[in-house]
């Protein structure tokens, strides 16, 4: 790669590819992903199950099984992350980047007090005395606004609610003040009121610590409400990318029909009860047998002959707005 890295980009991902072998066939889970995230900004990566949104982020954390073939480039603060050994990666995890997951109950050790688990996270990355780590752990509990942190320190995960457990996970992720935090469906399992609290906490912490945030989610509403920039993925590829304000709202200009379909399929409070939701038929393609041309073409209401013939490239058609479609929507609505 020769230096086309934009100034200020904290994370620069270029042509990232992840493939798995299954029964002799190749699954291209991530197929040429390129994007960048600046410090202090929030990027949402949206897609259905199997679109590659999680695999792409796990690749840069080095959290994929050894059977995964990863290629391409992901530079964090100028350092290449792809191809690093486990011990080299460990230096970056926690310090530079951290990740939180959907199910905090499964990420926490049920037999250990939560405070001890946070202390362990601190001591795994920094040489500090146990007593000092204890002080820092309580400080972290306070940072994620857990009431009575001294008492909570000694509790077990089962004594905490889902929202509290997710706060513990955030505290652990922030132990070494990472520059990039990846939240993979981190609020999906939570109730709406708790989700709102956790999102507010994440944004506050982001402002406080100057972190970049990547939100991986299936929820376009979450992206519209909290992200600066939105990437929509389908079958391992980015199909549309734009600032949130450009995609959503009254003057929203969604170009990709898949994004449009996702938006239309969400039940809205404004919609009258019992009205039929606009749907696209079918389901995402089999990742071992992707169709030729545009992957969405078999389900697309506007598919034409050229869609199956050539793959539409992801091109920046308007400032900051990239899409990969031969027949995009006009002014955000299907033509």
């Amino acid at each position: 790669m020769n230096g086309t890295q934009a100034a200020g980009a904290l994370l620069q991902v270029e042509d990232l590819r992840v493939a798995f072998a299954a029964d002799g066939r190749e699954i291209r889970a991530v197929d040429g992903l390129s994007y960048q995230v600046d410090a202090g900004r929030t990027l949402a990566i949206i897609g259905e199950s199997g679109s590659g949104k999680t695999v792409g982020c796990r690749a840069l954390m080095g959290l994929l099984p050894a059977s995964a073939e990863v290629s391409g480039s992901a530079r964090l603060r100028g350092t290449e992350m792809i191809g690093l050994s486990d011990s080299e990666l460990r230096r970056h995890r926690g310090q530079d980047m951290a990740m939180i997951f959907q199910d905090p109950a499964r990420s926490l050790n049920p037999t250990m007090r939560v405070g001890v688990q946070i202390t362990e996270a601190i001591r795994a990355h920094r040489k500090v005395a146990r007593s000092e780590a204890h002080v820092q752990a309580v400080e972290l509990l306070r940072l994620v606004r857990i009431p009575a942190p001294e008492r909570r320190f000694h509790e077990y995960p089962h004594q905490l609610s889902g929202g509290m457990r997710q706060r513990i996970m955030i505290a652990m992720a922030l132990a070494c003040r990472p520059k990039l935090l990846i939240a993979d469906e981190a609020t999906t399992a939570l109730d709406v009121t708790t989700q709102a609290q956790i999102m507010e906490l994440l944004l506050d912490l982001q402002a406080e610590l100057g972190m970049a945030l990547i939100l991986i989610s299936h929820d376009l509403g979450l992206a519209a409400s909290y992200a600066d920039e939105v990437i929509v993925m389908y079958a391992g590829k980015i199909v549309e990318q734009a600032p949130a304000t450009r995609l959503f709202g009254a003057g929203g200009t969604v170009k990709m029909r898949y994004t449009r379909a996702l938006l239309d399929a969400i039940p809205h409070l404004e919609r009258t009860a019992h009205t039929e939701l606009p749907v696209v038929s079918g389901r995402p393609p089999d990742p071992t047998a992707l169709p030729a041309g545009c992957s969405f073409a078999p389900r697309c209401p506007a598919a034409a002959d050229d869609c199956a013939a050539k793959t539409p490239p992801l091109t920046e058609h308007a400032p900051g707005h990239r899409w990969a479609c031969w027949h995009p929507c006009e002014n955000g609505v299907p033509a």
């Binding site: 259905e48 199950s49 009431p147 009575a148 008492r151 609610s161 889902g162 929202g163 509290m164 109730d191 709406v192 009121t193 708790t194 989700q195 709102a196 609290q197 999102m199 507010e200 299936h218 929820d219 376009l220 509403g221 979450l222 519209a224 409400s225 909290y226 949130a244 304000t245 959503f248 709202g249 009254a250 379909a261 996702l262 938006l263 399929a265 969400i266 039940p267 809205h268 409070l269 919609r271 009258t272 009860a273 019992h274 009205t275 039929e276 939701l277 606009p278 749907v279 696209v280 038929s281 389901r283």
Partner: protein, 355 residues
């Protein structure tokens, strides 16, 4: 449908339902009783969908199971098609229950992985000895067609050969096998991707129209519930705080909790300000619920009366009931500003006390 002047008999009528669970401490000693459902009453008319929304632990699933008599509620009555299910035993209960079917959240968890789709859908017919083998076979084909699965392609598959959406369609086909009049959906589309979710929601609507089904539709997603429901009930810590026609509940919520839930939904309108976390803290433990109104510890409008008296449901608009001493429309509480301030200062303390 019968005329408005003579209100028809409801299909399902629950009155003062109570469901309790014993909480045991280490060693098995009784340490308390959780009233997961505490005096809940509601009706579902024929062809109507009643939505029930609430957060985790609000008791909405327990309520659904109490209706189904699995397990039997501690107190209260469930009148379904004119018979009180709580008084029925054995075979009689089994016969009454065939008209009431359940669709659960996780389709793979509710389908036997070793069975083929045909056997899964046929099982209720066999269990209730409905028709002979040929008739049942034909019925299974009909049912699969009805839920949009081609019998020729899917009848011989195992659940693992289905996608989540397809598996949920199989679960729906099984629920429809005995031509029920009521389907209880407990988070039935919550685990599906949004495009598949829309397909299944449309299927529910199509079945409602074609088969005149009633639904008890339970979900935590408010927008989802609005989409399918004629009336919506909001549940908090085992009690209904508000019931009314969907449009009214969402447009002019009367209970502060309903308002808070609505305010928490992320919107796809970025201009319309990001979702504001209006509720602080978390629901208190159901083992030891607050006195009076159970929502008062998190309520911005709470006053002394809320701690002293349990608010009873009141009908403030036709069909729109609320259980709140100081509902959002229909008169401000006495000294509303002072009360709000009082509540705000009390909040951090209560949040800590609940732990």
């Amino acid at each position: 449908m019968s005329a408005e002047a003579t209100p028809a008999e409801p299909l399902l009528s629950a009155r003062d339902l109570v469901q309790e669970f014993v909480v045991r401490e280490r060693g098995g000693g009784r340490s308390g009783v959780v009233q997961a459902v505490s005096g809940v009453s509601f009706d579902v008319m024929a062809g109507e969908t009643l939505g029930i929304v609430g957060e985790t632990g609000s008791g909405k699933s327990t309520l659904a199971r109490a209706v189904l008599q699995a397990p039997r509620p501690k107190a209260g009555t469930v009148v379904f098609r004119g018979t009180d299910l709580t008084r029925l035993r054995g075979g009689q209960l089994l016969q009454a229950r065939r008209h009431m079917q359940f669709v659960f959240q996780d389709p793979f968890g509710s389908l036997d992985p070793k069975w083929r789709v045909r056997s899964i859908v046929e099982e209720p017919l066999t269990a209730y000895r409905s028709g002979n083998r040929d008739a049942r076979r034909k019925r299974v084909d009909e049912l699969l067609d009805l839920v949009g699965l081609d019998p020729a392609r899917y009848a011989r598959r195992h659940p693992r050969e289905l996608s989540g959406g397809q598996a949920q369609r199989v679960a729906i086909a099984r629920a429809l096998a005995l031509s029920p009049s009521l389907i209880i959906c407990d988070e039935a589309v919550s685990s599906l991707d949004v495009l598949i979710q829309a397909q299944v929601l449309n299927l529910f609507e199509q079945l409602r129209r074609e088969l005149n089904l009633s639904y008890l539709f339970i979900a935590h997603d408010l927008a989802l519930v609005k989409q399918v429901s004629d009336r919506v009930a909001v549940m908090y810590l085992g009690k209904l705080c508000e019931v009314g026609p969907g449009e009214l509940v969402y447009k002019t919520p009367l209970h502060p909790y309903t308002k808070a839930l609505l305010d928490s939904i992320p919107s796809t309108e970025p201009g319309a300000a990001r979702a504001t976390a209006t509720l602080r803290g978390e629901p208190p433990s159901p083992v030891n619920p607050p006195s009076g109104c159970r929502f008062r510890t998190r309520c911005p409008r709470a006053a002394d009366q809320c701690a002293a008296e349990v608010p009873q449901p009141r009908e403030l608009a036709p069909g729109h009931l609320v259980a709140c001493h100081f509902p959002l429309t229909g008169g401000a509480p006495p000294g509303a500003a002072a009360a709000a301030q009082h509540a705000a200062s009390a909040l951090p303390g209560t949040a800590k006390a609940q732990g």
